[in-house]
Structure formats: structure tokens, C-alpha cells
Subunit: 403 residues, 2 copies
């Protein structure tokens, strides 16, 4: 357990740099989950994620001499930005090692704070190995993304702010990857209000820490795959695992589909961009992974908002189909003038907006003289789609649907 005093000191250090982000009631989510839910909006934090807290506290806790050596880390994500920004504030050198495939936006996000970027390795583990070796050879301070007490203490400051704002929470839900965030926060919570249930949520595609928690020993994964890249950690750190076994009450997993639904929910209902890792807690509540919380007062950490808009656009598209606001149809027509007009007139009468259309008359499944039209429609929900289906049926169209 990280000492409460260490976390309080961290909070004093970071609070001139870091925002006490909004922690506010979420009416729709409360209604939908049957809990009284408050969201801690660390996606609105400086750098778009909580990681600046730990990174800044780490660098602030170094000696003048250590700082003069410069800092190095491996990360393509929020930790990289946190280290870069903290280093910039202290006007020291920062070197960030990123995998070679890192998108330019992430590289630029770090360069913006004046850090130097090295691209090395085909995945995170290789970048990490390179960075660690580099730090040893060149005598730079390695800032670990989670397995470091000063980093964990910095992340733990979120719990201080939450308990300060709403002391009588019944449970706090926290995303878990490497376990730095939950180690710091749970340490803080258990020293202030031990009766508050601390719940970790990990991605099903990156289950190392959850499995380790259940087995009470470090279990690594063979590989990780999840849209929640902020918690896509393959190996379990014995350091964070130790803190987690001491302080965390419950761990659950959510899959990518559930995470995507939570991202879309937060976008539509809360007007917030929250990345996959950040939405894990909301995913657990929306998908009833924590039924024992019904009627309880629950705080959820939205840990960050740094999501690629390309992924966001895919999540929106799939979400529109799942929620009945988009429909993909293939309709078979007689291949003659006027046939398409009849179909589109029927759709216009049904108030369905055509957003994509393709015409194919060479599919081998077609009778000669027939053609297939693939149509994407904007629809108003399940009821509207049912109307469209029954109208197609009435007009004797052969049709099928894609998901």
C-alpha cells in the first residue's frame, strides 16, 4: 500500500500543474444502471489523460542531479505525453521511445512538448526493452509507466479529489492495465475510507492483471488485443500486483463490444470523448457486470480521452447499425428502367435516407434479368426498420440484410 502521506505530498506537488477535473453526476447512466453514478472526467485533464499526475510527481520527486540527467520512457500513449509535458515544465531533457508503427499524431503529440522521439521496435515490448537499455547505458532516469511508487502516488491523487468532493461513495470503479492507477487510488481510498469498495475493470483482451488477481500470483498473457490500448498490458508487474492484492476488492473484465458501446454512450449522452481504457468502467456498469452495486453511490474514473478519430468513426458507424439508425440492405430488382425508381420512391415515402448505393447484375446468385442493389439507409430506430421490412415484403421485393 502506498502511504497516504506520500499521496498527499504528491497532490500538493502536482496541483499547480494538474486540473482538479470535474466529478459530476451522470443522470442517464445512473438510470440505465440502477446506481447513483458520478464520473471523474480525467479525459478533460491537461494532456487528455491522468498520466501527467504520476509522471509529474515522479520527476518532481527526483533530485536536482537526477533531473539533470534527463528522463526516458517507452510509451506511444498518454504516459509519453505526461512525461514529455512534465519534463518541459522542469526544463529537462526527455526521450520517448515509441514502436515504429506509431501514428504521426501520437509522435507529434509528444514533440509538441519538446521531447525527443526515437522510433524503435515493432511492438511496445521491444520499444520498452530499447528504452530501458538506453537508460542504463546513457545514465538517464527511466520513468516507468506504472511500476514505480512515485508514479503510483501521483495517480492516487485522483482518489483524494474524488473523496474530497463526495466522501460518502459506496464504490469506486477504476480501469486496470499495468495497475499503476488502481494501486495508487486504492491505497488512498483504503486509508481514508476502508469501507469503500474498490473495483478494477480490465479489458478481456488484456486480462493479465485480472487473472493474476484471481490467482493471487503474477500471470502474464501471451498477447494482448483490445481497442482499449491504454490498458493493453501483456505482463503483470509483481509490484503493482502486490498493492492490488492488498487493496482492491473486486476485478471484472469487459470486451471490446462493451467498451465500444460505452464510448458511444459517453459521446452521445455525456458529450465527452473517452478512449477505450477510459470507458472500461462505464462499460462494466452499462453491461451489468457489477449487479451488486444497484442502488449504491458509485464513482467511475474516465481515465483519458486520447482516441484516434478513425477508431471513433468506426465505433459510431457500428453503433448506428446496432441501435437501428443505419440499415444495410440488399434488394433484388428486375434489371429494367424504372425498377430502381420504384424502390427509391418506396423508400422516400418511408422517410428513409439513402446514404450509399451499389448496383450489381453479375452476381452468380442472380437469375438472368435480375439485379442486386445494395443500399445503406439512415433510419429512425428499430420500429422504422420494421416498417421498411414489411413494406419491402408487401411490394414483393426479395431482400436480405447485413450487419
Amino acid at each position: 500500500m502506498i502511504d497516504l502521506e506520500t499521496i498527499v505530498t504528491a497532490h500538493e506537488r502536482i496541483s499547480k500543474i494538474v486540473d482538479d477535473t470535474p466529478f459530476s453526476y451522470a443522470p442517464r447512466l445512473s438510470e440505465q444502471s440502477g446506481c447513483e453514478i458520478y464520473l471523474k472526467k480525467e479525459n478533460l485533464q491537461v494532456t487528455g489523460a491522468f498520466k501527467i499526475r504520476g509522471a509529474y510527481n515522479k520527476i518532481a520527486s527526483l533530485s536536482e542531479h537526477e533531473r539533470s540527467l534527463g528522463v526516458i520512457t517507452a510509451s506511444a500513449g498518454n504516459h509519453a505525453q505526461g512525461v514529455a509535458m512534465a519534463a518541459q515544465i522542469f526544463a529537462i531533457n526527455a526521450l520517448i521511445v515509441m514502436p515504429e508503427s506509431t501514428p504521426l499524431t501520437k509522435i507529434n503529440g509528444v514533440r509538441y512538448y519538446g521531447a525527443e522521439v526515437i522510433l524503435s521496435g515493432s511492438n511496445y515490448d521491444e520499444a520498452y526493452a530499447y528504452a530501458y537499455e538506453y537508460s542504463q547505458k546513457n545514465e538517464m532516469i527511466f520513468v516507468h509507466p506504472f511500476a514505480d511508487e512515485a508514479v503510483m502516488a501521483g495517480q492516487g491523487t485522483i482518489a483524494l479529489e474524488m473523496l474530497n468532493a463526495i466522501p460518502d461513495l459506496d464504490a469506486i470503479v477504476i480501469p486496470v492495465g499495468g495497475g499503476g492507477l488502481i494501486s495508487g487510488m486504492a491505497s488512498c481510498i483504503k486509508q481514508i475510507s476502508p469501507s469503500i469498495e474498490v473495483i478494477g475493470v480490465s479489458a478481456m483482451g488484456a486480462p493479465a492483471m485480472r487473472e493474476s488477481f484471481e490467482a493471487k500470483r503474477a500471470i502474464d498473457s501471451l498477447s494482448v488485443r483490445t481497442i482499449a490500448d491504454g490498458i493493453a498490458v501483456r505482463d503483470t508487474s509483481p509490484l503493482t500486483l502486490g498493492h492490488i492484492l492488498d487493496t482492491v476488492d473486486t476485478m471484472v473484465g469487459v470486451d471490446d463490444e462493451e467498451i465500444a458501446n460505452a464510448i458511444l454512450f459517453l459521446l452521445e449522452r455525456q458529450k465527452l470523448v473517452v478512449e477505450g481504457a477510459g470507458a472500461a468502467g462505464v462499460a462494466a456498469l452499462l453491461h451489468d457486470k457489477l449487479p451488486h452495486l444497484k442502488g449504491k453511490k458509485v464513482g467511475i474514473v474516465l481515465s483519458g480521452g486520447n482516441m484516434d478519430v478513425t477508431l471513433l468513426s468506426i465505433i459510431i458507424e457500428k453503433g448506428l447499425i446496432k441501435s437501428g439508425r443505419k440499415m444495410k440492405l440488399t434488394v433484388t430488382l428486375i434489371d429494367k428502367p424504372g425498377a430502381l425508381m420504384q424502390l427509391t420512391r418506396m423508400l422516400q415515402e418511408l422517410n428513409a435516407n439513402i446514404v450509399h448505393i451499389e448496383y450489381d447484375r453479375t452476381s452468380t446468385s442472380l437469375a438472368y434479368g435480375d439485379a442486386n442493389v445494395r443500399i445503406h439507409l439512415e433510419t429512425k430506430g428499430e420500429e422504422h426498420q420494421a416498417q421498411i421490412r414489411s413494406s419491402l415484403h408487401e411490394h414483393r421485393y426479395l431482400s436480405s440484410e447485413e450487419n
Copy 2:
């Protein structure tokens, strides 16, 4: 000018219902615009927009008898939700008239608060006419979306909160449609700190109030067309125009392209979903419509976040192309086995991700034996696209680009 006391009274009334939304520094926007910018995040307000302020204040200012008659309004947007929620709090009847084409999500958004919905008219003006006539015939209280002093006073409370948080602003930038928001806010600002410049931003596609401001007389538009539906008002209200001529210093216009850029900027940089109307102020700053503000301390109102995710998805897609993160190519190949493989191998070596592909060999512009491949690529920016172009050239591919 609305009396300051009226606005202060409104604030006392609404503050148990309405959030004092975050008003916080925007580092990237400040840097990009050369101003010191703070954003008032009314998109995070209850109901997702500021309109609850005016609607609640109006209903709260009615007599018991008036309230017992029930309220009615015409709106397909944020005002409808504001009236519905306020009526629910007072446990009175609310009737919302919406145009027939209103999307189901907006209808449900209002029904959620227990209001009754009538669909009438093929556009807003027809819905408005129906609602007004209905209110007269059935003796219900009509809650105008802007041309009402109690509504304006409610909206003006935003300025109280902003000046309370940051008293030394040089300018405040406010979206303008019907003019209720800016009338209330400017009245408040000019009575507290007359030296603060009040700037209105309207959509180029809905210029009535801006043109009226310039001409100093009410000018109506023939039609409106903008993605900022929250400020898509056709006719100028003499009531709000009077207040605006009294209190507003400057008015500028932004077009849909600029608004879309601002929406994407807020999504990526601020992690916020802001609707078209809400992003108008940021659009003006991003696109240098207010060059005299350089170096000044500026507050911008993000008035709401209720945007259709379908539109959001289109804005993201177009934004990706504009910012060099997506590329649409047509490449001419020799129509034989292996040709496509050679092209895709080249693209793989360039680290360009193919997200859409179509093969066409019947275009009349093609030589016999050739085929066109339309490819959409995910790219890493302008530099990466230049690499792809030069590699295509080197390999002697004929290619063209779409925007």
C-alpha cells in the same frame, strides 16, 4: 438591456437545477489563435445545452395559475429539452411541437422528460405557427425560444458565472441565432464590466441577425441552411435585435466548413462533443475572423453538445481527408493476375492502410486490358501522402486523387 437584477434573480432560481459548468483554459486553441482562451462548457450542462437556463427561469417566473395551464413551445432542439425538463421539475404539462421530419432521437429526448410531442408542419416555421395558435386556442403558456425577457435573463446567467470565475476578460464570444443568449449575456456583461467586448458569431447560412445588426433594422432571411441547426433562425426578432443593438460590439459570420473544423478541433483537442452552433465561437477564432483579439483574454461559450452522431461521423471523415489522414486514390492497373498484388505490396511497404477498395474494368476512359482501382488509404499526414504520390510515380502508375 435586461436588468442586471433580473439576471441575478434568475441565477438564484436556476442554480439548484442547473450546473455552473466548467470554464477552463484551452492551451492548444490559445496557441493556435494567439489569444488566451477560456471555454465555457455549456455542452456539459444538464440536457446538453444552455437552453434549460432560460426555460427554467421562464417557468419559475410564472404564477401558480399560469403554470397550471401548462406550457407549450415549438422546437426540435435544445429549447424543447429545456422546456420539457423544466416542466417536469414543476410537475406541469408540457407540449412540444416539432416538424414532422424530426429524428426519433430528438423526439425521444423530449419524451424522456415526460413532455407530450406533437409533430406538425414540414419545417420549423410551420411547427411554430401551429404551436402559437394552439397556445392561444387552448390557453397554454407559450415559451418562446428567445424573444422573451425571462428566457433571455435565464441565458444571461452564463455571463454571471463566467465573470465570477474570471473577471478580467477582454472579450466574450457568443453564438447568435435568434439572439436570446447574446441578449441576456451582453446585458449582464455591460452592466458589470462595460469595457469587455461582446462579440456575436452567426452562421453564414443563417445571417439574419448579423445583417440586421449591421443595417440597424430587422432583416429576415429567405431561407437558412447550416450545419449549426441551433442558430439556424430565419427571421429577426425586433425584441432581441433591440437588446443586441444596445449591448453588442461586434458581429462576425462563420461558414459550415469553418464550423466543421471547429467541431473536429474540439473533439480531438478538448475531448468534447460540441454541436455546430456551440462551435461557432471557436470557428471564428480558429479561422482568424477576430484578429484584433490577439494577445487578449477571451471567453468563448460552447453553447451545446446535442449533435447527431451521423453528422459527427461525416465531419470526422471529411476532416481526416482535409488533414492528410485519409487519401482517396484511383490507380490504373494492367488487368492481369499479380497487378493488384504489386500495388498493395508497394502500399504495405509505405505503411499505408487500405480501408476501402473497388475494382473497375469497364470505365469508358480505360484502354482495353486496363482496370481502375479506387483505393481509400489511412495515411499519417501530408508528408506521408507525398511519399505515396512519389512512389506511385516512380513505379509508373497512372493515378488520380479525389477530395
